[in-house]
């Protein structure tokens, strides 16, 4: 096994979990914590300045999404945006129908919202995915009934990186609606932002979730795109902020930071996607050559440029993670042992992967600061870790 390299830094390969804030974004945000205070609801100069900053931020986000500024609602997180979209749209359309459809690989923010709706008397259909994690548009249409008010399918999966055919889905649903506005289509685009187009007109969606922590922006800020005419029952009440859809004094620094981060991510999108796709494919190719028993999870081509997700038989993810951590490499796992509920990842099980393999899953997600040298370092130590844990494993023993 390789010795611990004297790296002067951590090799951070967990960008899907959190991204460092962009230094320019941070500089943009700082004055709003300090000198540029003021409540946007106040009429005086400080208040007007705060309102102006929020208005500009909203316009900047709308420009990236190709929508109207009034169609952007700032929230506290991606999770809140998912909750607001799924719970809010379904509750708002309750008189119209009590059925929703979500994909089997949604984030827990959507899954548990659906569970909540079930408790309120809604019927929930789960749209399965194939072995690559892709939904089937035809299958989705088959699940739609006259009572269906919402379909929620994520844009790109946070665990195994598969990109879903949102445009095809929205086109098919538009045809199925036949003039009606239902079912609405919601997509969680938290992982897609910075890699895929966020043009809502092209995507043809009614609701879209974004958050700051995945786009080199501040944490504690999310956004929800809500197409004009879509009615939502708010989760948080008690103020007229965000068109009465999200009460509470706006966090001007976080809103300004979110807009700056999204604008920069969009500007860097094409070049960064190309750069990371090359690095990703290099890493996958070398990794699978060095560890032939490993398998790539998710779609081989229609996957996020920054996502590498593998399962290694006979060894367990948390053990891999801690061995990597000792070599100062930071990754993530879908193994049950690392989860607080001790359940294997529902995403991997939805792919039809058995629990045994799901336990041995590991996710590397690349980002703006990832270099080829870093990946070469990981490739130099990872086979040793796999070999060590495999030799130790009871599953490789002849008994």
């Amino acid at each position: 096994m390789s010795t611990i390299a004297e790296l002067d830094k951590v090799v951070y390969l967990d960008y899907a979990a959190a991204t460092p804030i962009d230094p320019e974004v941070l500089q943009t945000v700082l004055p709003y914590w300090d000198k540029r205070y003021g409540n946007a609801s106040s009429m005086h100069e400080s208040g007007r300045r705060a309102k102006g900053a929020i208005d500009s931020a909203r316009a900047a986000v709308a420009e990236v999404l190709h929508c109207e500024p009034e169609e952007i609602i700032f929230t506290g997180s991606g999770t809140e945006s998912d909750n607001a979209a799924v719970l809010g749209a379904a509750r708002g359309a309750r008189v119209r129908g009590n059925h929703i459809i979500i994909s089997a690989i949604e984030h827990k923010a959507v899954l548990e919202s659906a569970q909540q709706l079930k408790n309120e008397g809604f019927d929930v259909s789960i749209l399965p995915v194939d072995a690559h994690g892709t939904i089937n548009v035809e299958k989705c249409l088959q699940l739609v009934t006259d009572k269906t008010v919402l379909v929620s399918v994520m844009y790109a999966n946070n665990e195994m990186g598969t990109i879903e055919p949102i445009q095809k889905l929205s086109a098919a649903l538009r045809e199925r609606r036949a003039g009606s506005t239902f079912p609405y289509l919601h997509t969680d685009a938290c992982q897609a932002a910075g890699f895929l187009t966020l043009n809502v007109a092209e995507l043809g969606i009614d609701l879209m979730t974004l958050n700051g922590s995945k786009i080199y922006g501040p944490r504690g800020i999310g956004a929800l795109y809500k197409k004009k005419g879509v009615s939502l029952v708010p989760l948080i009440v008690g103020g007229e902020q965000e068109q009465h859809l999200r009460a509470g004094t706006e966090s001007v620094p976080l809103i300004v930071g979110f807009a700056a981060a999204l604008t920069k991510a969009e500007r860097m999108r094409a070049a960064e996607s190309t750069r990371l796709t090359t690095l990703r494919d290099f890493f996958i190719d070398r990794l699978l050559k060095k560890i032939p028993q490993a398998m790539l999870n998710g779609h081989p081509v229609d996957r996020l440029p920054n996502n590498i997700h593998i399962s290694v038989p006979n060894i367990e993810g948390e053990s891999i993670l801690l061995m990597l951590d000792r070599h100062r490499v930071e990754a993530s796992t879908g193994s049950a042992c690392s989860a607080y509920d001790l359940q294997p990842s529902h995403v991997l099980l939805a792919l039809g992967q058995n629990a045994e393999l799901a336990h041995g899953s590991i996710r590397f997600t690349l980002g703006r600061h990832t270099t080829k040298e870093e990946l070469e370092y990981v490739l130099s130590i990872f086979p040793g870790i796999v070999e060590r844990l495999t030799r130790l494993s009871a599953l490789t023993a002849t008994i």
């Binding site: 006979n314 367990e316 061995m323 000792r326 049950a336 042992c337 130790l392 494993s393 009871a394 008994i399």
Partner: protein, 147 residues
């Protein structure tokens, strides 16, 4: 103060105690070449689907009925590996545990020697004592019954 607080506030920010880390990174008594190992008893517990599986091989002094060797293999998380390692140490230290005592080894005793485990790891990952018990029962079926 519960175990979790103690572990979380130890200054390293680690989920696991130093002893757990030590046994995870430097496991004791691993059996690598099981094909050429002549054990007196073998025990296997857990399942790959559950994410934890342990195999334990023992050698027993038939005169003193003490464990002379206790070697193992584990599929599982860090606490599963560390707890099997610690179990093997406890079974063989001080001249080896008597079979009757070894069969009564508790998960609590292993966890205590490990300096604690996070609450959620308590029940699922500490199975080493069960594998040891199975190995001893295997020994008893094969040897004691005949004598």
């Amino acid at each position: 103060m519960n175990t979790n607080d103690k572990l979380c506030n130890d200054g390293t920010g680690w989920l696991y105690s130093d002893t757990v880390k030590d046994h995870f990174f430097h496991p004791r008594n691993i059996l690598l070449d099981e094909k050429n190992y002549e054990a007196d008893g073998v025990g296997v517990v857990g399942s790959p689907a559950c994410g934890d599986m342990m195999a334990v091989w023992v050698k027993v002094d038939s005169g003193t009925l003490r464990i002379t060797e206790c070697v193992w293999r584990t599929f599982g998380c860090a606490s599963a590996i560390a707890s099997t390692s610690m179990m093997s140490l406890m079974a063989t230290e001080d001249g080896g545990m008597t079979l009757s005592r070894a069969k009564r080894m508790t998960p609590e005793a292993i966890i205590e020697r490990l300096g604690g485990l996070p609450d959620r790891k308590y029940h699922c990952s500490v199975l080493g004592h069960l594998a040891l018990r199975e190995a001893i029962e295997d020994y008893e079926e094969n040897h004691v019954a005949r004598t």
